[in-house]
């Protein structure tokens, strides 16, 4: 399991949410409260949109809680759209390319979950990547494959939520073919720098936690509320996704599983 946060709103220093708040993401790296492992020390990453078309990425292997570079970059960089993630590895090696968020072109993605029986379906999942996205793969995680598969659907014209639904539906089909009993759990965030989609779904209805806070000029989404006692946080419902877009109220909608996948 991992912990993450996503922000969209008035530009703020990343440190506000990543390092400084009471239960900031850095605090969650050592003291996560709502997941099986309190420690998320297998690398971290931040990704942010600034003046460029593509996001900046800073990912490293050390625990977030003691990384002076992370702290300094977060103190200096201000952004109106950013992601941050602390990782608890589940099998794949600790390398920068395996740290979240992942970026491709202007898109960015991060994930907290699992593909049950991944070893049994990895090969078919990777084979499903169109050439462009096969070559774009830099690490070896399941999360990066899901991201690239979704991008391939988007490139074909699907709206992002449907692209993600198609990706998860396909993944579930492979899992069924391989007689995998373990669950597919997908709590994740995806953005093109303008619209932010955050998902909280699982085929066993036990997705990892996800909350959001909507305040004037600032929507924050996080695995766990970054301040305590704030009643401005609400849970993203299980089986739902939210859409965050500037100038529009955040919407909550059921995740568009294809009927076939839901039936499964």
């Amino acid at each position: 399991m991992c912990r993450f946060l996503a922000y969209q709103g008035e530009p703020i220093f990343l440190e506000t949410l990543v390092c400084a708040s009471e239960h900031s993401l850095v605090h969650q790296s050592l003291h996560a409260a709502e997941c099986k492992t309190a420690t998320n020390g297998d690398g971290f990453g931040i990704g942010w949109y600034g003046e460029r078309d593509i996001p900046g990425l800073f990912r490293d292997l050390r625990p977030a809680w003691s990384d002076e570079n992370l702290r300094s970059v977060c103190t200096q960089v201000r952004s109106g759209q950013f992601f941050a993630h602390v990782r608890a590895a589940t099998g794949t090696v600790t390398s920068r390319a395996n740290c979240h968020p992942f970026a491709h072109g202007r898109w960015m993605f991060m994930h907290n979950g699992q593909i049950g029986g991944y070893a049994q379906i990895k090969r078919r999942l990777e084979a499903a990547l169109p050439d462009e996205f096969y070559h774009a793969r830099q690490g070896t995680t399941d999360s990066e494959v899901l991201f690239l598969l979704a991008l391939a659907e988007i490139a074909k014209g699907s709206p992002p939520p449907e692209a993600v639904a198609a990706t998860l539906g396909f993944t579930k089909m492979l899992m069924r073919d391989a007689s995998v009993d373990e669950a597919l759990r997908f709590t994740a965030a995806l953005t093109d720098g303008e619209t932010l989609y955050c998902f909280r779904v699982a085929c066993d209805d036990r997705p990892a936690s996800l909350y959001f806070s909507e305040q004037p000029g600032a929507v924050t989404v996080a695995s766990e509320p970054v301040d305590r006692g704030g009643d401005h946080w609400q849970a993203v419902p299980r089986g739902a996704f939210i859409t965050v877009r500037r100038g529009t109220a955040t919407t909550v909608a059921p995740f568009p599983w294809a009927a076939e996948a839901v039936a499964a």
Copy 2:
């Protein structure tokens, strides 16, 4: 706080105690049970005596629990005298030179504890190092200074326990001069490759935990027993140190605080 273990006996693969046992040191790096912080993820180190006069050292910054190099080296290397340590940093930066164990010539040392008010006495403590040991300093931790001060005493002819006592007595004096209220706590291991000394002392009588197990051909000392349910572990008494030497039964003795220091 940190966790550590020391071994003296028939040569065994380091993995036996470092990685493989039920509550191995690697397990303690993520799930320490007897200290304030369960996570000891700010680097690790192993030091071992083989065919050379000086010990080998392998220290790195990543958490021990996911380090494939640590695992592989521990699988291959066999030694009859070794140390292993996982670190939870308390202020100084995470760097290899700040990871335990420390080595100088044939001596090796590791520490789990604190010098209360270190910032206030650091300067005087470092100034007390004779030239040879001042130059030998590679990192910036308080632990390394204590090690080098004790070596300086040993170089003058003191038996190691008295050298350590003189070092801690001097440290306490500086703390008193600086009106430091916090405690000096010193749970540590020191060896020249032949005799192993392990200390468990604190000026507030709350030293970090330390256990030892004496079995035929194998003495193991550890912050926490590395297997559970074993009744062969006994606590090192507070205010005591043990001496482990080949062919001799392990002895437990009161730590030889100088009267002046004890009075303090």
Copy 3:
């Protein structure tokens, strides 16, 4: 390009060849003389056989020339069969899993060369890996794929040189299909811990340099002689491979390209 060395003979400390000699591999990491880039600073690795069935691996990202862990491990570990490699990356990310040598079971491999147009054939090359070896892949280099493809051939019963020839023949075929103009160059070492095979081949007859020295109880193979002025080094001929086996004189033989591949 990279630099590497392989040793088989009486057990010696790794430092003898890796760190201590006049033009040791660590020296070559900063001052390589016979390749385009003098600097091989994108990680390093050592792999050695000791008392276990599988080799030990120690690979890291920092330049070899300043890595104190490498130096200490090489000072302590003695082996009669080991590999060492310093890397100059050519496109793939710097990560431990991309450092040579690679190990799988009791086999170990390292490579200095290139697959021309790798991006264009990567997908088909990886798809050719049988399941067991597809899952064994840990990094993202072309070298690791070649290793695993050769192991798959060996698993089918091929002698190692023929397995390597089949792998390279297949790779050349894919390159031809993809109209790749760049060369396939393969200077490499492969061992199961008992027999050592070292290859120096390229489809454009410009393979990277490779030398060997056969002395009583010690065969050393290296990208560049590790001592200078020694007349005991001879070049491995282009298009040849050598076989090093205990109790047998080293043999030099033409690389068994399949006729089809040679014609290409």
Copy 4:
């Protein structure tokens, strides 16, 4: 030896000088032309002023040429006052705290040079640091001590060039006392975020190279010109320092060695 650059002018993306130009600092990390070692692979650092009172710092151990974080941060961050440095270590360990630039409060410093016989005077040099600056020390390099000594002089009221001159004069005196024959060489940059001072001095008149380019809205200072063929670069004279301040023409002046130090 090392290579560095400093910029003051209209805010530009750091990548312009650090990564993108023909002979950018990243290029110099692998192909330095005007120093003994072409390779500067022992870590790197950037420091920049943005919206905060204190500069941001990002320093890491890997070679600059392959660091994806460095590249991404430099692509996103825009600053009108920044430093960048690539290190070739000369004795001290490779750690983040030993990488340049160093920062303290709003001050920032980087150095390319050497204190001859440093081991012989280190102790007296460090002892000369007032408490505040003694405690601020985070690494173990000679460069950081010079920086902190100069800051201590500035804190007493000295203008920065005089503070640096006093520091170097004192250092030279210690070297003379210790009968050091080797040279003191100091090519360095110091700034408080507003005024930039760059020094090129050595007691043997062989300081490391330093150039500057003054163009409308942009002053760049660099160990080696970052573009080739540009005739807008001029060497900083030996024994001189330059002062760069917004809205004022850059001035070149003789370094204010104290008479005593010059006489030496």
